[in-house]
């Protein structure tokens, strides 16, 4: 690992200042992706700004009809949260399925989404549940937040502070994990709220995406049979040693049906 300057601000405002002042600064949240990346020298930032000491970024609130999760809240806290378990059990399940217990004790929701790993679980939750990302300067709808492979709408010096989830009537997440890493080969979040259905897919493509054809079919008839005949094109999907694009396309359809079945 190359060396860097280390900063440990205690407020979001100070963190933004440190980031603005750095030549090539990076935010350190849980570090579950960033530290391995630094070890491999795939990144060599001049400064690391650690969010670990900013108390305002941690915690879960149920207010204004939304569940709001602070950006530095670790996955284990989401998985164990009584309110998340009661109001959006699919989100608690999703958090519980990330990595292993030690990763869940350190990794955070803000870090996960800001990284926009194609195989991360949280992007499917944000897009599927129609969440809103709060940053130090604005609110961004999840649909507009994830832009591509490791790419988001965040500006260079912008910090995610929280994510707000509306309460769905029903939501389920079905994931086919890579047996070694537990990253999603394919993960599908299906959620119904106010008569509309959203279907968000992670793991299959370069970035989380929705399936409008399935959403429409499920809005009329919320059952696995409604989407049985919908073919998923393999065009543009990921192909690697773990699975071909065609295999992933097939998995999308299977995981979507499983998620709908679990909702019933």
């Amino acid at each position: 690992m190359h060396n860097f300057e280390y900063h440990r601000p205690t407020s979001v405002a100070d963190a933004v200042q440190s980031l603005k002042g750095a030549e090539d600064g990076k935010i350190l949240a849980g570090g579950m992706t960033l530290i391995p990346t630094l070890k491999q020298r795939l990144a060599a930032p001049s400064d690391l700004i650690d969010l670990g000491a900013i108390a305002e970024l941690k915690g879960i609130k149920d207010e204004g009809g939304m569940i709001t999760i602070g950006a530095a809240t670790p996955h284990a806290m989401v998985a164990e949260s009584e309110v998340v378990r009661r109001v959006i059990p699919a989100l608690a399940d999703l958090a519980e399925g990330i990595g292993d217990p030690q990763v869940r004790n350190r990794g955070t929701i803000g870090g996960s989404i800001a990284n926009s790993d194609p195989a991360a679980d949280y992007p499917a939750a944000l897009v599927g549940l129609d969440a809103t990302v709060q940053t130090d300067r604005r609110r961004i709808k999840a649909d507009d937040f994830f832009k591509g492979l490791f790419e988001t709408a965040l500006e260079e010096d912008e910090i995610v502070t929280a994510v707000s989830f509306p309460k769905p009537e029903k939501a389920c997440y079905a994931k086919f994990p890579n047996p070694a890493s537990r990253y999603a080969m394919v993960g599908v979040m299906v959620a119904r709220a106010g008569g509309a259905v959203r279907v968000a897919v992670t793991g299959a493509g370069p970035c989380v995406f929705r399936l409008p054809e399935m959403e429409q079919a499920l809005s009329g008839n919320f059952s696995p049979d409604a989407i049985k005949g919908i073919e998923i094109s393999a065009d543009g999907l990921n192909s690697d040693i773990h699975g071909s694009a065609a295999y992933r396309a097939h998995l999308v359809s299977v995981m979507a049906r499983r998620a709908v079945t679990d909702c019933a």
Partner: protein
């Protein structure tokens, strides 16, 4: 070079550490606590598991500076005159072969018992997702953890 201070196994400990120093290297090389092992160095094997502020973490994937001011417990901090009940259960049930993964297994197991005082076999196997035993001695590790959990109640 920044000075890093933390409470390790109940005692104040400090030392100089470059920001890039991993917690595991600080523990092993600066503090001389070599019970915490580095197996893979890629956050997968769990040989380096320690507790930071009461939670199990992989110390190869945390910077020493991130643990500044924290309470850290390593395998050396468990025995108190006699072996911790979880360590004793690993010995009793032959929960180790070469022993390399054992410190991480024991630290991870104790965190499990804090969440779940009576874990089933499947609870244990699921919890050990992040701990790899290359001797593949999982069968007795699981038995040891179940017995250790029982002993920790008493």
């Amino acid at each position: 070079m920044p000075t890093v201070s933390m409470t390790v196994n109940g005692k104040a400990a400090s030392g100089d550490a470059e920001p890039r120093t991993l917690l595991v290297h600080f523990l092993r090389e600066t503090l001389g606590l070599t019970g915490t092992h580095v197996g893979c160095d890629t956050s997968q094997c769990g040989a380096c598991v320690v507790h930071v502020d009461g939670k199990s973490v992989k110390s190869c994937t945390m910077l020493a500076v991130q643990a500044n001011g924290a309470e850290v417990t390593t395998i050396e901090g468990l025995a108190n005159g006699e072996l911790h009940p979880m360590q004793a259960a690993f010995r009793e049930h032959h929960g180790l072969q070469c022993g390399f993964c054992t410190p991480g297994m024991v630290m991870s197991a104790i965190d499990l018992v804090r969440h779940n005082a009576t874990p089933s076999e499947s609870d244990i196997r699921e919890w050990l997702e992040g701990n790899i035993c290359r001797c593949t001695g999982y069968h007795n590790i699981v038995k040891a953890i179940q017995a250790g959990a029982q002993a920790m109640k008493g």
